[in-house]
Symmetry: C2
Subunit: 515 residues, 2 copies
């Protein structure tokens, strides 16, 4: 089949393929291109020698460009229209067609030269950001970030016009299909109304208790890796369809049937890699658990970044920072590192892993203060996209917001608004999904425990079977058949809300020690 996807007879039958069948072939080709790009991107972060970076950029650019052509070909539009007019598709194919249309609409909404201008602006901006952050020099980044923002606003407007959405909602939709400001605003307003007080109260209660006993390294990195692999296996990672490696910034990537997660080891602190591996394994479980029959089709894709983050956090935060899990983990750690003593008790280890400590850096934030970093970023980026906040005013607005939400005074922009790559790389509409994910994780875990009352007891024995089974049925194998809120309603009885998240934080950080 040519890149243009001309209608060819369906092999073996002599019959003409339907428009829908032709689209399935087109999207299978897109999935193959996406998989190729995924492995090349993973390789660039893990193994690629420095001198290969420019050529790798060329390779990824051509794959993206060819995918864009395949998705925006006139024949694709014709086939979509024909398939949408036809009748008789069952639920999965019908949902697949819906997702095909969504992908094509996003791709065709933005003119090619705007895509290329944005890509060039982002490349320049990312390079300058690394230096600006290192030198705490916002003025250096400002013109580049302003250009990136200008182009993202144009993209948002173009997509919005095509999809019938406001610019921010259009950008958000590409990260989290169906998510809207109208959904997020009330949820985040609710969060803002009680989170600061919860954080303050948690810290009071923490200060009133004896501090947990610290652990002293070093902790052999080879042992850390073996531990990580063992936990991945316990959680349910399929090593015939994935692997664990090292990169500067941990992530979950790769391709279908080839899910590659990474971590980074610190010989002084094994907890970072351990919890990081559990986090990425949550993501990986989702990817590996997608509906097999549809895994090369759009309806087989994971349903957006909020649900994806709910899967990483349901493992890392809900399950693996529970008191029950530390009953299982503590002896494993003692044996692996050859340690003993009161600081290695399950109780103490759990306390060390459930501290509340406001800080400047989002990626280092604890479970309770993390959402404050997101509330701030959501406020700022919605304002920037709306044209209500100029880039030159970003540092001031950021610092004011952090003081308000966490009571901290930013000493320099390196640990302030320059800390994250998202905006310099053009990712507006991504930040809220972290906390929407945390909320969904709590909501799903609550429902899982209702359905599987033995779940906490199983975690105390390192048995993830019940949790994994429930997640497979309720999330992973649904793929993109349902939108996020329909999936949550089916799984938990209600669309996304804050109640479960609040109850969870109160139980873990304000309640009895069993949280």
């Amino acid at each position: 089949m040519s890149a243009a996807g001309s209608r060819e007879t369906f092999p073996g039958t002599g019959d003409r393929m339907t428009a829908y069948q032709t689209l399935e072939q087109r999207f299978a080709r897109l999935a193959a291109l996406e998989g190729a790009a995924g492995i090349l991107g993973w390789d660039a972060q893990t193994l690629m020698p420095d001198g290969a970076a420019e050529a790798r950029g060329d390779q990824l650019a051509i794959l993206r460009g060819l995918a864009h052509e395949i998705l925006t070909a006139p024949e694709a539009a014709e086939d979509l229209a024909a398939a949408e007019r036809a009748s008789g598709l069952e639920s999965w194919p019908a949902a697949n067609l819906r997702e095909m249309r969504r992908a094509q609409a996003h791709a065709t909404a933005v003119p090619r030269d705007l895509v290329e201008a944005s890509s060039r602006a982002v490349s320049r901006s990312e390079v300058v950001w690394r230096e600006a952050r290192r030198d705490a020099d916002f003025a250096r980044l400002e013109p580049h970030l302003a250009e990136v923002l200008r182009l993202q606003r144009e993209i948002g407007q173009a997509k919005g016009a095509a999809l019938g959405l406001d610019p921010y909602d259009a950008l958000l939709d590409s990260y989290d299909p169906g998510m809207r400001r109208a959904v997020i605003d009330p949820l985040f307003a609710d969060l803002t109304s009680w989170l600061p007080a919860l954080i303050a109260r948690a810290r009071e209660m923490q200060a009133a208790r004896p501090a947990p006993l610290p652990l002293t390294g070093p902790f052999d990195v080879a042992v850390q890796r073996e531990l990580g692999l063992k936990l991945m296996e316990a959680v349910g990672f399929d090593f015939t369809r994935g692997r664990l490696d090292i990169s500067l910034h941990p992530f979950c990537g790769g391709a279908t049937d080839d899910v590659r997660i990474t971590t980074r080891y610190d010989a002084a602190d094994f907890g970072r890699a351990l919890m990081g591996v559990l986090h990425e394994t949550g993501h990986a479980l989702y990817e590996q658990g997608r509906p097999a029959a549809w895994r090369h089709q759009p309806v087989g894709a994971a349903r957006g970044m909020s649900l994806h983050e709910s899967q990483s956090l349901i493992i890392e935060m809900q399950a693996c920072r529970s008191r029950e899990f530390f009953t299982f983990l503590a002896p494993l750690l003692r044996a692996a590192f050859g340690r003993s003593g009161p600081e290695w008790s399950a109780e103490n280890l759990h306390a060390l892993n459930t501290r509340v400590a406001p800080g400047f850096i989002r990626v280092d934030a604890d479970e309770a203060t993390y959402p404050a970093h997101i509330l701030l970023r959501y406020r700022l980026e919605t304002a920037m996209i709306a044209g209500d906040l100029a880039v030159r005013d970003l540092p001031g607005a950021f610092n004011d917001g952090l003081r308000e939400l966490l009571g901290l005074t930013v000493p320099d922009d390196r640990v302030g608004c320059l800390q994250d790559i998202h905006w310099p790389s053009g990712a507006f509409g991504y930040f809220p999904t972290y906390t929407l994910g945390a909320m969904a994780a709590a909501q799903l875990f609550r429902a899982a425990r209702s359905a599987e009352p033995a779940l906490p007891g199983c975690l105390a024995e390192g048995d993830f079977g019940p949790l994994r089974g429930w997640l497979r049925s309720n999330v992973h194998e649904v793929g993109s058949l349902l939108g996020t809120d329909d999936l949550l309603t089916r799984a938990t009885g209600a669309p996304l809300g804050t109640a479960s998240f609040r109850a969870h934080l109160e139980a873990r950080y304000l309640g009895d020690a069993r949280g």
Copy 2:
């Protein structure tokens, strides 16, 4: 630029691009696709989890298919014709245009359905071959190999018709541009006339001397790896543009500015990996040394498999099995493995690495008997492509030939005609390049030593500078500017011949111990 390569204005000047400039853009895109495929192929042999194989097959198939479309687009043919009509190209661009035409001619010669039929036949054949070889069951492979051969003959005829060549020459041309049976036949006839006697004489002389002292393992694999890296560095491998890993079958692959070689370790015998790494490093030096300004264009490519093999063998065989090199290597090995004793002398190690011992397996053959395996395969595959040898008669013809050339009687087809993957995977026209490469290696090394009389002395000190510098100027940086024979004539004073190879084998295996 679209996949079809429409003529767009040359960025920044407002002028229309010439047909040649448009072609350069088209071929740069092809190079990026080729690089992507190269990394994915490398990954499949080194790191990919088993469950990802099918999806990887899809990814590679789409990359090949898209590259084929770009190369065979009507606009490419139009631009080639226009560029060929135009005048004023300097030597490098003119050679680039010549190579572009050659690539396009090969690609357009074969109808799409023939390409696909051949690809499917090869996939099936390769799977059956592994089982057939394991069970020494030629009858099982026969129908599949017959189908592969049938399709390769058709491809040879199609290419031959388009290129004005006989079918075998057309197939050969895709592995070794410009190489022809008319060149190979006299060279191989000459080889056949003296090689068996040389082998017999070498074995007589060997038997008349005390046998070299064996080495006893085990040899720590981590130490072997460090040794390999150190030697790669000495030879001149650039680790900012490449890496060393492990695979089942060692190879040199990857992409431009990202040359990835592999090896395989045997704790009982460090020599296999050591010489293997040196062999692949020779290939890598060629790839890394290609003319930088043209490295994404056809004229910047290495000039065919014979020259490529000359580069691996000039390092492994010419340089690194010389007596001088063992003066450098022996103390390195003693220190690395913590050994001493007479068996670790440079003299003894050199003797161990220059044994002549006819065997059944080509890949295990020593330098003197290896060409006999190639002479046999060349004879058989030219006959198969000409229709003069039926697949059903292959085992008998193979066994007769091996008895004639090496005096060995094949006990079963697993160590006979089933040992190599080449024919089952459709590679007809590849085998002769191994020995053409060995001949070219000897011829080039002789010329290098003439130009750099200090070369052997430098090797005795582990200094590859003079050899590397000579190879860069005379081979690597020439890319495909010149055809193989013109390159050899420029570098050595004569086109490819057997004289230097014969002189080398006689000196090393029949001469004084300094060979």
